[in-house]
Amino acid sequence: MIPASLPPAGLPGLDPRWSRLVDVVDREGVRRSWHVLDTTAARGTRKTSAEPAGTLLCVHGNPTWSYLWRHLLAAAPPGWRVVAPDQLGMGWSERPAEPRPRRLAQRVDDLGRLADTLGLTGPVVTVGHDWGGPISLGWALDHRDALAGVVLANTAVHLPAGYRGPTLIRLARSPTLLRTVCERTPTFVRAASAVSRPPLPAPVRAAFAAPYRGAARRTAVRDFVADIPLDPTHPSAARLRAIVGDLPALAGVPVLVLWGPSDPVFAERDLADLFARLPHAQVHRYEGAGHLLPEDRPEAATAIADWVTSLDRPAVSPTASLPAGRPGRRRARTQPRPADRSLWSALEARGGDPAPAVVELGASGVRRTVSFALLERRVRELAAGLVATGVRPGERVALLVPPGADLTAAVYACWRAGAVVVLADAGLGLRAMGRALRAAAPDYVIGVPRGLAAAQVMRLPGRRIASGPLDQASRRALGATYGLADLARIGRETTAALPEPDPDAESAVVFTSGATGPAKGVVYRQRQVLAQLGALRATYDITPEDRFVAAFAPFALYGPALGIPTAVPSMDVTAPGSLRAAALAEAVAALDATLVFASPAALRNVVATGGALDARQRRALERPRLVLSAGAPVPVTLLREVSRLLPAARVHTPYGMTEALPVTDISLEEIDKVGPGEGVCVGRPVPGVELTVSPLSADGRADGPLSDAVGVSGEVCVRADHVKDRYDRLWVTERASSRDPGWHRTGDVGHVDDERRLWVEGRLVHVITTAAGPVTPVGPELRIQDLPGVRAASVVGVGPPATQVVVAVVVPEASPGRPPHDRVGSSGRGAPVFRSRSVHSIMGVADLELTDAVSAVAGVPVAAVLLAPRLPVDIRHNAKVDRAEVAAWAEAVLAGKRPRRK
């Protein structure tokens, strides 16, 4: 037996005052000494101090120790006590001398006796990581009266039959390896802290290994691995089964699951399993983090503290229906028309109508026309087929089908069956799309053969359904159980009833562009999508007589819901910039369309290829009454050129985002009328939308109370019935974005003028914090872009926060008379070539003439004007400049030395 001891002094981040040794008699009557981290110990032993608001009881896994929770002890919520024991045999607790390993049941019992000795009476929130998860849950289930909440991080509770356990654990458990890897050598101990992303500093890794020096101190590490009940006859299997079986008892207890998806031990299936057993859990996935989540994302400690604090307020379950309860929801909104009980009402109303609903165009004209009658019948059959084959309301269906009649039918069939469609933009690229779709954890994947192949590559979960004809061999290879045709046939024969429309049912998970970090999933409920349709109808006076061409992803699906026909032009869906003027004209001609919805990238190429139109195509483009350019900022010059190509159309551009669209709208005439200003004028709120700002503080944060004051710059906040329900499995992000109840924080910075028009000044994360106060980039950028010889400009901050200087990065116009290199102040020769991801060689420091011209119009002091051949833009819209990357590049260039490659 080795008794408990205090950890050595000087371990990074560990306050020695937290450490205490506690003696507890275990159920066999043996006195055991524990090492416990306890925030109360640090406050002294005064008994006079008030009862804590609650206690966080943190249980580590194997082979870590309570050190894992040091960030949480440091970030303890006000009034809360944080207690983190080292399990017996582990950390600095006693190494019991016993013939048999300590089993799960005994560890749960140990924890209970320790908690009793420490005097934890509740409310208690348990926190468990790794195999500390089941132990903490065991305690939680045994102490329901004291339990206020449950936090789990990268853990698993259920080992399904035939499941061989996480690969690493399996390896460590093989009899020959177990002793060598876990006990005789510190291999497992060292490996546990080696998987951290980003890598842990050496002193922290040393601290994790410190209590496990020498084989005698590692016995429990081995036993712990051996105690994982991989088969039903294992001594701990029954206790684990009991814990799993009791989990439904936690239905009324708030649960927070924090997850690092890049975990070689616990995979997405374990998260899915937890979520299935605790469906009310709030989840946050830290994209890029791994197994040692508390190390990989120290800010998770703040999230836990924040979550615990939020428990004091009335619980808001993620599935609750909110509008009535949300404060401030007083003003009248656009109500869905009575006919719009559901997203398929308008389609149903046109059942039997032989008029075209969806027209697909190929390279040589119309490829396929599907009538309303056919579409309505197809949707009904598919929906019935989905239900008959087991799709349940609320289950998620990822769709990897290009825009067209098949996608439209599949989406409406999913809705009709009560399922949630998961739609990722192919423009994200396979990697980012895979990350996004895995995060959404679809139960089903409907895909064309190429889509199903991609689903394999992306390692998507879910049963596969093939769209389009596919032979048996390929179908097997792609893992598809059914094809859509099978489903339709099953649907025709089934008697299964379709669910009643539920306005609160979730309808869709869509994704942000990921221009700043990984793409985020955004959840919409049916009533929110209906409200979006209502907002579109009201803003653009859409009537049943309209017909539209949609080259803009989400809107391409809205035709049936609006009850109007849609033409899908021939283009490469992964590249919006591939839409040619002739293809657009053919799509317009196919329906004699009145509305055109497209992205700026698409419109840019339409304008560029306008010269190739023949007379008939030109005439076709004279027909539409409205062109909508949505999805990214639109240069006014482009809008003017669009207007010339479609002379009868009013040119409008809505402002909004994946989380809320449209928010405002402006026409080309109004843009011309208002003229330049501090930012981009995006117009007035559309019907049903309220706008306000959260003013910027001097250090560039938006943390003050919301303000309706004219001309005050701040984070733009939106309230409307068509704002997203929430971010998907991103509890921390959701809480930050909706911290003003009822309002969605957009992450954009702007101000409202005296005519209620919104001016967007940039992204909040791109605000430059100078010693003189915050500077927003868009206003200066627009003025610099207006200079002769300048094609594009980006304005960024360089230097530490609150003392940054403003740097303008300018892309010069290449003119035959004056090569762009001519703008370089001193010879560009010899200048190092910088490549930081997609930025590009520096051309140099601008000459004095351009520098002076930029300084004269910028409106803010400019420290340097740099020339670059192009700016980095996002893949999806090819329009949003990644200013963070520009700033990193500019900082490296201005440091005078070659920047490190990313």
């Binding site: 230097g799 609150a802 010899g830 140099g844 420091v845 740099l866 201005l894 005078g896």
Partner: protein
């Protein structure tokens, strides 16, 4: 107020004395050569204990600028003037009951050759300071600030790359080399560099005299707070002087090696004038260094009155007057 200014024959020392004099302070200046200033003048060397003691006696405040500013020469010279000279001033102040001492230092005392991006004024560190000048000034700053106490309030100010009309150091060298076609930029020429227009530096030093009670014990970097790429600074100086800006560019490793060679040569036998390049200079020209000015401005209750743009206009008109 009775104020002694040492090193008033230099551009900055002269400007400080002038400001003090014009606002009505009783100013004495101490330097080796006549300053041409309309104040009481002591012609002496700070290396002379007695002369310094004599000059500080009866002063309310002392502004100590006298220093050997160069890129070559033996260490003992720097030590004699910059370290021992400062010790004489500090000792003199303490012995004669002077209340306030403003020690004029340099950001180079805390610069170990790395990039400084919006940096605070780090601690002076002779062991890592680059070159004899910086090392000796670091020791001098240590001496000066160590003397800060209840009877003597000491503040160290570090003006960064001071320039202006009549400047023989930065401006003078750029212009004369550009004229003779010997000027080249080191590295990309994009390194962001802080500079200080002379009137601003003088005003900040005078502010330090006035705010000594608040600022004592601290080292404060002084700059215009308008960093610019080195290319732009050189180009603007050349334009103000009416000379062609440099077109040549020397990669940093070449300049550094050349600097090392020149230093070795100058150490063996000193040719006339300064070497064309030193390692310190190569680093200074190729490495960004600009500073966080918030603390300086708050502590001194001072902001630069002359912008860089205005400074270059004044420089141009000064060169026009010279022609």
């Amino acid at each position: 107020m009775r104020v002694l200014v040492t090193g008033a024959s230099g551009m900055l020392g002269g400007a400080v004395a002038q400001v003090l004099y014009e606002r009505g302070d009783d100013v004495t200046v101490l330097q080796r050569r006549p300053s041409g200033l309309p104040c009481r003048e002591v012609l002496a060397d700070v290396t002379s204990v007695d002369a310094v003691r004599q000059a500080v006696r009866g002063q309310d405040a002392v502004v100590h600028l006298a220093a050997k500013v160069a890129v070559t020469g033996p260490w003992r010279e720097y030590e004699r003037v910059n370290v021992a000279g400062t010790r004489h001033v500090v000792d003199g102040c303490r012995a004669t009951g002077v209340g306030w001492l403003v020690h004029v230092s340099s950001p180079a005392v805390a610069h170990s050759g790395t990039s400084l991006v919006g940096a605070p004024a780090g601690p002076a560190e002779p062991r890592t300071a680059r070159g004899h000048y910086a090392r000796s000034k670091a020791l001098a700053e240590w001496l000066a600030l160590a003397a800060d106490g209840p009877s003597l309030a000491v503040v160290a100010v570090r003006p960064h790359l001071v320039w202006g009309p009549g400047d023989t150091q930065l401006v003078g060298r750029i212009v004369s080399r550009a004229r003779s076609g010997r000027l080249a930029l080191v590295g990309s020429g994009a390194a962001l560099i802080d500079t200080t227009y002379v009137a601003n530096a003088a005003a900040a030093i005078v502010a330090a005299v006035d705010r000594c009670e608040h600022a004592h014990g601290q080292a404060l970097v002084i700059s215009n707070g308008e960093p610019r790429p080195i290319t732009e600074i050189v180009a603007r100086v050349c334009r103000a002087a009416g000379v062609r800006p440099p077109r040549r560019r020397v990669p940093f490793p070449v300049a550094w090696a050349g600097g090392a060679a020149a230093e070795a040569l100058w150490a063996v036998r000193a040719p006339a004038g300064d070497p064309p390049m030193t390692r310190f200079l190569a680093e200074q020209l190729a490495t960004t260094h600009w500073f966080d000015q918030r603390r300086t401005r708050a502590v001194l209750d001072w902001t630069p009155a002359v912008s860089l743009d205005e400074g270059f206009v004044r420089l141009a008109s000064w060169y026009a007057g010279q022609a």
